[in-house]
């Protein structure tokens, strides 16, 4: 099959309407003709019961009616049969049981008239019936194709579309089985449908699936054994359906490519944003350090002891900041690469929380930590160092957003399935729309776009918690501050 120019629209021509065919002579036509004549003869006999007079005109009229009815009901051939039989029967009707006496010219004229009526009506009726059949069939085909095209172009995955496609073709084409095998960008898809209980091995059509001269695969339609071969219309319908499937598959292929391209573009955009953020965050402390050191090395500059110390303290702070940032970036890279390996052992949340607070206390400035841990908390399966990191990040975050002299409240309680940790600060809180965004990498709060955090701590915390089958989310405290709530499952989950 050649690929259709213009890509085959839905209403592609299926039935060639210029093909006028003569309705074949069938047993049905013979039967109807015979039946009509018998009825005609019977009516003629009935009209004779009442009187001895033979109403020739009546009999002729009755036979005319029977020929007409035969032609109307059974088409041309039924009419012709009825006409011939009527011509033969007519003389008997007038003979009163004796041998028929042919009334030469009159009977001949009657026979010709009968035949003429039969042919004219038969042709008209036959054509009308034919047209009706064709109309009904092409409507059925159009409906099938329209249905196919909606199905095929629904944007569903090609596998499912093809499954449905082969299924739909079975019934209207009287198939025992229908099989499609295609290859989309090297990805093989196959679909097969068959009707149970039908013996395979009948007439088979093999139709190539082609788009823009690129072969995609083949469709194989098989009728049950012993059935008639596909006729022209059926072959055309099959080809039209296949063409639509080809267009749909091509579209699916292009869609998939477009989606990939879009994902690529988004990833690149994200990467670019990350890159510029990381570059900025890495360069800033480096700039401070280099400025401080070159100033101290500058033999022309005279620093007093206090100035020297200021510079050195700045260098120290910036080094620490840089160190934390590099650590966070490495962690995030590890998480993204799926290389975050949790070494889970029975871990006491309270012990880790206490250790983190003990270690962090000197770094919290004037912020007070209030630690309330429920007694007898169960151990949880966790990597203690990763849990340590989560709590460290949460505490650092809370401290960063705490007002001077504020209190950070850390509570640990047990729920039905988890140990729940709550780290609440007295900061400005997080707008309800941003409560999920804070877990995105490189996100910084609206109030503090230049805050010293890297914007990574919370996203690392969430990644670790999630890897442990736990959850972390933001709540608002009574005083309007932020509470980070963390559920760590008591029983081993996931991974």
């Amino acid at each position: 099959m050649k690929a259709p120019n213009g890509g085959g629209t839905v209403a592609s021509v299926v039935v060639d309407r210029s093909s006028r065919r003569i309705v074949p002579f069938t047993a049905r036509a013979l039967g109807i003709g015979l039946f009509a004549t018998i009825i005609g003869a019977l009516i003629s006999l009935l009209t004779r019961l009442g009187s001895d007079q033979i109403q020739v005109g009546t009999v002729v009229a009755v036979f005319m009616l029977s020929v007409t009815m035969a032609a109307v009901t059974g088409g041309l051939w039924a009419g012709v049969v009825a006409a011939i039989l009527a011509s033969v029967t007519l003389p008997f009707m007038e003979s009163k049981g004796k041998l028929p006496s042919f009334n030469g010219p009159r009977d001949l004229i009657a026979a010709v008239v009968f035949l003429a009526i039969a042919v004219v009506i038969g042709l008209v009726v036959g054509n009308a019936a034919d047209e009706r059949d064709r109309a009904a069939r092409s409507e059925r085909e159009a409906r099938l194709l329209a249905y196919l095209s909606t199905k095929l172009l629904s944007g569903d995955v090609p596998d499912r579309v093809l499954d449905e496609f082969v299924m739909i073709l079975l019934e209207p084409l009287g198939l025992a089985s229908c099989h499609v095998a295609v290859s989309l960008d090297g990805h093989a898809i196959e679909a097969k449908a068959q009707r149970d209980g039908l013996p395979p091995g009948g007439p088979t059509e093999v139709i190539p699936i082609v788009v823009a001269n690129i072969p995609l695969g083949t469709l194989i339609a098989e009728r049950p054994a012993g059935r008639r071969p596909f006729n022209r219309d059926e072959r055309l319908l099959l080809e039209a359906a296949t063409r639509q499937a080809a267009v749909a598959l091509d579209r699916a292929r292009l869609d998939a490519r477009a989606r990939l391209a879009q994902v690529d573009a988004e990833t690149n955009q994200l990467r670019a944003a990350m890159f510029s953020s990381v570059t900025h965050d890495l360069r800033t402390p480096l700039a401070s350090i280099k400025a401080g050191v070159t100033s101290l090395l500058d033999e022309g500059a005279i620093h007093d002891a206090r100035q020297q110390r200021d510079l050195l303290v700045t260098i120290l702070e910036e080094t620490d900041r840089l160190n934390r940032l590099v650590g966070n970036i490495l962690d995030l890279a590890k998480i993204r690469a799926g290389a975050l390996i949790s070494r889970r052992v029975p871990t006491a949340v309270d012990e880790v929380a206490e250790a983190v607070v003990a270690r962090m206390r000197p770094r919290l400035g004037g912020v007070v930590v209030d630690l309330q841990l429920q007694d007898d908390l169960p151990d949880i399966p966790a990597d203690p160092m990763q849990l340590d990191q989560v709590l460290t990040n949460l505490l650092e975050n809370a401290a960063r957003h705490s007002p001077p002299g504020g209190t950070i409240r850390i509570h640990a309680t047990q729920t039905d399935t988890a140990v729940r940790l709550r780290v609440a600060d007295e900061g400005p809180g997080i707008h309800v729309d941003d409560r999920e965004k804070v877990f995105e990498a490189f996100y910084r709060g609206r109030q503090s776009p230049e805050s010293p955090g890297s914007g990574l701590g919370l996203s690392i915390a969430r990644a670790i918690v999630t890897a442990h089958g736990g959850r972390i989310w933001v709540e608002e405290t009574m005083g309007g501050g932020t509470a980070m709530v963390l559920d760590m499952p008591i029983r081993e989950t996931g991974l």
Binding site: G327, A353, A358, D379, D388
Partner: protein
Amino acid sequence: MKVLVVDDEPQIRRALRTSLEAHGYEVATVGTGDEGVVSAAEAQPDLVLLDLGLPDMDGTEVIRRIRGFSDVPVIVLSVREQMTDKVAALDAGADDYVTKPFGMEELLARARAAIRRAGPDEPPQPTLRYGDLEIDLARRLVTSGGEPVHLTPTEYALLESLATNPGKLLTHQWLLRRVWGQGYGTETTYLRTYVRTLRKKLGDDASAPALIVTEPGVGYRWIGEST
């Protein structure tokens, strides 16, 4: 006092040499594990600072080889990402670790503590004092503010193990073997329960500790200041 620095980064070697010499230490530096083992045998240092990320040899292997002939204190220098290596190094016989990048102040404090612990055995002090707390090692008695603190034999053994290794990071495995016996090593939940009870009896707040510090996932460290 001789310090051997084993690190493949020349900048770190130079920084350590400068700072340590400024504090009166005699410093030798090498860049590979092999040289480290040889120097540890030949130069007989009083302390080894060992980088865990050596190009030629696993740091744990260096410690194991040094331990084959010497009890010299070893402080491991590692980056944060080498947490499991660090625990392995401690279990292999390292005395302590310092995470890179470190402050010299912290490193020097650890170095002094390690050298002191390894120093010539002073006559064992019969009694350890930390403010109100007194541990009478000879009579195995513990008092706090003059009041006796009642400890079970296991609790006492744990306290003694911690207090007689001041400043040293004691891994879970080391403590379990020392207190419960050689067959133990992974029963960290067990150990944790005892540490918690001990802290409670001694009145030490884990979130603001004066005696026992927790290193999550690694072990415990006694930080009590002798008085």
